[in-house]
């Protein structure tokens, strides 16, 4: 990633995310009250976060790869089932992944 690309991502993401927040304070309620819009909007974070888990944990460029990261994700799943708090999940996953990375 070039420095210019990074600046574009930071600038445009910030501008758009803030505009979206401000938009909520200006639009009449009925605009966003459509049931279909509400239903889809409630599911968007779930679909995107799910896809991000896969893209970051199991994909390298455009192919599916099972490597040290998968070990980290597996540990994260276990910790989440055990109701571990967020920082423990992240650190646990990192530790497992680093361990597998160095063993290889």
């Amino acid at each position: 990633m070039s420095s210019l690309t990074a600046w574009i991502v930071v600038g445009a993401t910030s501008a758009l995310c803030f505009s979206i927040k401000l938009f909520g304070y200006y639009v009449p309620e009925r605009w966003l009250a459509h049931p279909r819009l509400q239903r889809v909007n409630a599911l968007i974070p779930i679909s995107l976060l799910s896809a991000l888990v896969v893209a970051e944990g199991l994909v390298q460029k455009t192919s599916v790869v099972i490597d040290h990261r998968a070990a980290g994700v597996a540990v994260a799943v276990g910790l989440l089932f055990a109701k571990a708090p967020f920082p423990v999940v992240v650190v646990g996953a990192a530790a497992a992944s680093a361990l597998v990375y160095h063993l290889h």
Binding site: V10, L16, F18, A42, L52, A55, V59, V64
Partner: protein, 221 residues
């Protein structure tokens, strides 16, 4: 301070501190993805909506282009518009205060405010502002720490930082999966992302997964 007021402040501060510390994970992920420390800090100061920030650096780390990163982050931010819609009649703010309110309108500030509703509108406002401002402060502080830490550590894979990112997404996703239906949506989205990975350019499968949300949300259940 009355007991009710004290309880609201306590609710707000505990959320602000807890969520704020997650900024460490973002700061580290962002630097590992190739953003500078300055860019990482500006992300947290200006975008200030955790999942979108993680998504933007996540798409870049996955090899996706700028447009894909920006679009994914923005789509994740659309729920904040619905929060603003709910908060506007409670806060009744104008001018610069409205701009400030919008900037700190996130999952946490809205949730704490709505939970205070039985204590009245003043408690809701207090909860919103303390959670919003507190999260902003701690999130930015910990972003800087995470960014500096990752920079000092070097090779992200050596420290497991490349696995910390999907773990963070999983940690953000998990509490949302409150019903079987939502768990099905998550699993189908993951399967969809895996299947289209080999066909689409890097980064695009993430935003393409929105079609799963549209397919499931289209009709009333």
């Amino acid at each position: 301070m009355t007991d009710d007021r004290r309880q609201t402040v306590r609710d707000a501060l505990s959320v602000a501190v807890t969520v704020g510390t997650y900024g460490v994970a973002f700061g580290a992920a962002s630097v590992a993805a190739g953003f500078s420390v300055l860019q990482t800090c500006l992300f947290s100061l200006l975008t200030f909506t955790g999942a979108s920030q993680f998504a933007a650096v996540g798409v870049v780390a996955a090899g996706g282009g700028a447009a894909s990163a920006i679009a994914t982050a923005s789509l994740l931010g659309t729920r904040n518009a619905l929060y603003g819609l709910q908060m506007a009649p409670v806060l009744r703010v104008r001018g610069i205060k409205r701009v400030a309110a919008a900037h700190v309108t996130i999952d946490e500030s809205t949730a704490v405010a709505l939970v205070q509703s039985r204590r009245g509108v003043h408690a809701m406002r207090l909860g919103f502002w303390i959670t919003g401002a507190g999260t902003f402060l701690f999130w930015n502080l910990f972003t800087l720490l995470g960014a500096l830490g990752a920079k000092a550590l070097g090779n992200p894979a050596s420290w497991g930082l490349d696995a910390a990112v999907p773990a963070a997404f999983l940690g953000l996703l998990w509490p949302r999966l409150t019903t079987t239906y939502l768990r099905v949506v998550a699993l189908v989205s993951m399967a969809f992302a895996l299947v289209v990975t080999t066909w689409l350019p890097a980064g695009l499968p993430i935003i393409a997964s929105v079609v799963v949300a549209i397919a499931f949300g289209w009709r009333e259940r």
